[in-house]
């Protein structure tokens, strides 16, 4: 469904130091630098897949998404989405994709969202019966209620995002690009958006490429992740495999009957956290089973759970490792 080969997108950016002198000098001379926002990225996405596109701020995720949706012309490389070259922005291509950006909106600000839905119906050439069916379905999935009939400017951020999603799906696209769709939303609204995206994917078989800084989004939605940093691909594969690779240790969360000495816990594994009668131990996968048995035998355990390391930690470690690798590669003769 999506094929990207050696994609590069470079920007020429004017650089100017602060201050009056620099401002005056910039009238006559403007130094420019080339920013390699995306620098030789390749990957494939199959139909119906849900892929998380991850990376720190400025990594090149959004730029890649904008190239995939035809908004930006690539500097070089080959990109195909649903059999089309996005930069051409053919009608057939635009009718198969949608891009939802958490920080941008397509809803008409001064009119109720229903007007944007109707406008999109007309522009995408959706028949009235299909439109009614789609809106009924989306209204159900997103619990829109009477939101489409209130002026957009009077909706809360979460309500607006629900309507943004509905507006973006009027034409039932086969490929959804979601750029931080849960940004700024409260926890329950984030969960609602996540559950909708998953349901939509399962129901329609649409391909979903998502960027998000919220690891809950990624964990809930994306079996596969593509990690990009400083414009380069640093990982492409299963989320589980990534976590295992970065952190082969598991976390043993112990709820105890009473507080115990740290020394007793350290005999079992690395103590990550200890607070009153709750402790978190880090133990290697191979000794997990025996450690659990020893914990149950030697400690007043009330409850015990085994978890992976938090995704945020895994990602943070991945980003710092890939930056270190990059720095080393740049310094190499």
């Amino acid at each position: 469904m999506i094929s990207v080969r050696d994609l590069c997108k470079h920007y020429r950016v004017h650089r100017r130091p602060p201050g009056l002198r620099a401002a005056a000098r910039s009238i006559f001379r403007r130094p420019h630098v080339t920013v390699r926002a995306v620098d030789g990225v390749s990957f494939e996405v199959s139909p119906g897949e849900r892929v998380g596109f991850l990376g720190p701020n400025g990594a090149g995720k959004t730029t890649t998404l904008k190239v995939l949706s035809g908004l930006l012309h690539p500097t070089s490389g080959e990109v195909r989405v649903a059999g089309h070259e996005p930069r051409r922005r053919d009608e057939a291509f635009l009718k198969q994709i949608t891009l939802v950006m958490g920080q941008k909106q397509q809803l008409l600000w001064d009119l109720p969202p229903a007007e944007t839905f109707e406008l999109n119906r007309a522009i995408y050439g959706v028949g009235r019966d299909d439109f009614r069916r789609t809106m009924d379905e989306l209204g159900d999935f997103l619990e829109l209620g009477d939101l489409p009939f209130k002026p957009t400017r009077q909706l809360s951020l979460g309500e607006r995002m629900k309507c943004e999603l509905a507006a973006a799906l009027v034409h039932r696209p086969r490929v959804l690009f979601l750029d931080e769709p849960t940004i700024g939303l409260d926890v329950s609204m984030q969960a609602a958006v996540r559950s909708f995206v998953k349901r939509y994917n399962e129901h329609s078989g649409a391909t979903i490429v998502l960027t998000s800084h919220y690891m809950h989004d990624v964990a809930a939605l994306c079996p596969r992740v593509v990690v990009i940093d400083r414009g380069r691909l640093s990982y492409d594969g299963g989320l589980e495999a990534l976590v295992r690779r970065m952190r082969p240790e598991r976390r043993l969360v112990l709820h105890l009957e009473r507080p115990v000495d740290r020394v007793d816990l350290e005999k079992l594994g690395k103590v990550v956290a200890l607070e009153r009668a709750e402790a978190v131990l880090q133990v290697h996968q191979e000794v997990l089973q025996s450690t659990v048995s020893r914990a149950l035998a030697t400690l007043p355990v009330r409850d015990l759970t085994v978890e992976n390391a938090p995704l945020e930690e895994v990602m943070s470690e991945l980003f710092s490792r890939s930056r270190a690798d990059l720095a080393a590669a740049e310094q190499a003769p």
């Binding site: 920007y11 959004t62 904008k66 949706s69 035809g70 908004l71 930006l72 012309h73 922005r89 009608e91 635009l94 009718k95 994709i97 949608t98 891009l99 950006m101 920080q103 941008k104 909106q105 397509q106 008409l108 001064d110 009119l111 007007e115 109707e118 406008l119 999109n120 119906r121 007309a122 522009i123 995408y124 050439g125 750029d179």
Partner: protein, 267 residues
Amino acid sequence: MRLAGTLRALPVMLRVGFADAVAYRAELLVWVLSTTMPLIMLALWSAVARDGPLGRFGQAEFTAYFLATFIVRQVTGSWISWQMNYEIRRGTLSMRLLRPVHPLVAYGVESLGVLPLRVVVSLPVAAIVLAVVGSGMLPRGPGMWALCGAALAGSWLLTFLVSFGIGSLAFYLESSVKVMEVWLALFFVFSGYLVPIELFPPALRTVADALPFRYQIGLPVELLTSAHGWPEALALVGRQWLFVAGAAGAALLVWNGGLKRFAAFGG
């Protein structure tokens, strides 16, 4: 988007454009008040003409000319270059580019969506023209009225395409607002908006004839006030449409080149 699809979508696009234009009532009132410059010029030139006519312009002719100018400006105005400048700089143009309809059409329909409202504002002014100067100065015969229609359409297209082209310069210049301001300064001088072209000194009139500004306002006003006979009117409308074709080519050239440079910042 194919032409048939665009035509099918057009009624909804126009209706939504109109609904968007009338969303704020107070803003509407301010907007009407801000387009009264021809009425001020009318008062000024009528006072000048009280002592005797200037060329063919007596008080009645000035009244007809500037009220017609008011109407033409209302129905042919386009202010999209500011909106485009904002959308290109802030990256919000992205949402427009995702839809399968050419932004030229989308911006055009948005401009046209305001038209019914402007016609409503213009109707009382047209009634005043008729009451004050009578129907003697109006075009005679359906042919001349059709030519007036063509000139008004050409005027709207020329103004819109220039606005679109200048708005597209934001892809290259980071801000195209100053370019539009320069264009407007020249427009006010050479379009006949403040002074009828007929009252220009001959040398300046030759310059005005060769520039596009006159065809944005002056020409339709001149035709509506029967300033030209058939052969001259036909030649002038022909020249106006040549400017329209040139403006369309230039605007699309600037747009297509600029789109490759679009950085879609801000998101």
